[in-house]
Amino acid sequence: MEANSVIGTVNKKGQKIVDPEYLFFEAPRQQYFMTGSEVVREAIRRASVDISVAYPITPQSEAAAMVGDLYVEGYVGDYFRGESEFAVMSQCAGASFGGARVFTTTSGPGTLRAYENFPMWAGSRLPILINVMVRGINSPLNIQPDTLELGMILDTGMLIWHAETAQELFDYLLKGYIVAEEPDVHLPIAVVIDGFFVSHTKDMVMIPSADLALTPYNPYRSPVPCMDMEVPPVRMMRDPFVMKSNYISYATHASWQQEIRAAIERSRKHTIRLIGGLIEEENSDADILIVSSGTAVAQGREAIRLLAEEGIRVGIVKVKTLRPFPHEEIRQATKNAKLIFVPEFNVVGWMAREIKAVIPDNHRVIEGPHVAGGMTLPPEVIVEEIKKVLAGKKEVVHG
């Protein structure tokens, strides 16, 4: 493959381009104590990113500005501030159409301002990586962590991975490019973290040397032509579909949409290889399970520890990828559970809905506990919810 021919060469910054699997699994790593924003900077430093476009919105502004520093240092090819998230995501699209590896970040209201672009990215098969640092969406004004926006982007056609920790954030940012750019996938990918909880807290992270870099994007492995006038400009259709009120027009659109969903499913094999499965299980043979993603899982783990001290055995299933959704994996992991708790950082409980939709006997799913608007979710709250249900006196007011 052409992509392999660059392995072993040195880029403009003097970084050695290495085999991605070497970078992910073999290269020596050193431990650092840093914020999520700094983790983003260090991942992008090694990601051979061509273009990044930024826009300020809390809590992603810090990371977006740090990528600007990388541009000044020469690690990112071009970088600028767009005028709104809608424009930024279109600028990212233009750069990706032109064959660049693209990185951007957004949060909350910005995600919704950008929204129209996401299905367009997927429909155009643009493997843009967007780091979404979720926060509350208006009104009333809120800048605190809340995952409501995530429930709204599930079916845009993007791959969506939800990182729990700073370490996962680092790894997903790099591995995300490799999966998203596979010719049989070639879709945008949202690498999601919970704003503030992950972006603004410090954590231990194992990071390989800054002298190593990911293989650059090869736009000629794309399943659709790169818009750079280096490949023949085929006339793709005799008449634009939109002109044709006939079966061909409907069938084309429908099959194209199906193909995007199929490509999401095809990402599984690459994803499983690189991040070790779409879910993670701990004591999943227990009668009681906690199933969730992101920071809610971290809180769930603490709850399990507290319950274990009281002799109550609870297991956990962590959902790492929201798209592709690990429906079969969740079915298997929860098949013996009598009660399935789904703690979430949003008011509607979309994760519980997702899980209920794919498992049998879904009355086993307890939607909650929920917090919203930036409230923390203390493990004690999860413990209390579980004990209430076990005592048969669940009168929990969610939200």
């Binding site: 273009i51 005028e83 424009a87 233009g94 660049a100 672009n117 367009m120 008449d239 634009p240």
Partner: protein
């Protein structure tokens, strides 16, 4: 990309679609001094179009394509509207994504091409209607000019939303009665050419497409100045004959009637000092890419 890239190997020649063979045999890629006179001869310049019979936009579109100085390395960005019905016929790479985001897409695209092909000419040209350019996309139109993004923006101004059936647009004349302006438009036609000048465009031209030589000169200047100096803007009157109650053969006369000395599409041109110096340097060098002296 040169013609050598699209050449067909002998063994496969006879099984390639005729459109592709003709593109290889008779496109004007790489031809010096290409221009509007190639319309009707060169393969890549839209043989058939899917617009209304007699639509001035269809000829404007052909002029634009025929006058690109470097089509073999030009990528076009369109938007939703009548123009998006023609782009699938065009033999240069073109992008349609959303409605109104064309100048944002072009900004990212131009930067990507500049980064990937340093030292090589890669032109980007935006072509969109007045709704896309001035209403829904105005923010991104202006911001790309403020940022001095190096591409040409062409607006096909038909003074209304044609493709959705004739609704009021910002470039519509005051008083015109249309859908969504049932009592007549209440405010003046937006003065985008003046705004373009103030926003940092180095070349701004307003004209109809009744005179192909003039269109040719404007397009070539717009592309070349954008390539070397900074953003450029061309507003072309392409009346929607359907929505203003004209017949298929009346488009040309409508344009002639609208370009008299005191009419709203009287030919106007602004060239910044920097762009003038650049054009003068081209003249001096007598490069093949120089601007035709005939207006």
């Amino acid at each position: 990309m040169g013609k050598e890239k699209i050449k067909i190997c002998e063994e496969f020649y006879d099984i390639m679609p005729p459109e592709y063979r003709e593109l290889v045999d008779s496109s004007t890629y790489g031809k010096e001094g290409r221009g509007w006179k190639d319309v009707g001869v060169a393969k890549e310049l839209i043989e058939e179009h899917s617009l209304c019979a007699g639509c001035p936009e269809s000829i404007a579109f052909r002029y634009v394509l025929a006058c690109l100085p470097n089509p073999e390395d030009t990528v076009m960005v369109g938007s939703t509207g009548c123009t998006s019905l023609v782009f699938p016929h065009v033999a240069v790479h073109n992008i349609h994504s959303l409605f109104g985001n064309q100048n944002a897409v072009a900004s990212g695209l131009k930067r990507a091409l500049a980064h990937r092909f340093p030292g090589k000419v890669k032109d980007v040209v935006v072509l969109a209607g007045d709704g896309a350019t001035v209403d829904i996309g105005l923010d991104m139109t202006l911001q790309s000019w403020f940022r001095q993004e190096k591409f040409l923006t062409i607006c096909f101004d038909n003074e209304l939303y044609a493709n959705t059936g004739g609704q009021e647009s910002g470039l519509m004349q005051k008083g015109f009665v249309s859908k969504m302006a049932p009592a007549g438009k209440k405010f003046d036609k937006v003065r985008l050419p003046e705004i373009a000048e103030e926003s940092g465009c180095h070349y701004v031209a307003t004209l109809t497409v009744s005179k192909p030589n003039r269109v040719e000169k404007a397009i070539r200047q717009g592309v070349l100045i954008a390539r070397e100096v900074g953003p450029t803007y061309i507003q072309l009157y392409t009346p929607c004959i359907l929505e203003i109650g004209k017949q298929a053969m009346e488009g040309l006369q409508e344009m002639r009637d609208s370009e008299g000395p005191n009419e709203r599409f009287a030919f106007k041109e602004y060239i910044s000092e920097e762009a003038k110096a650049y054009l003068a340097s081209l003249e001096k060098e007598k490069k093949p890419a120089a601007i035709p002296t005939q207006g």
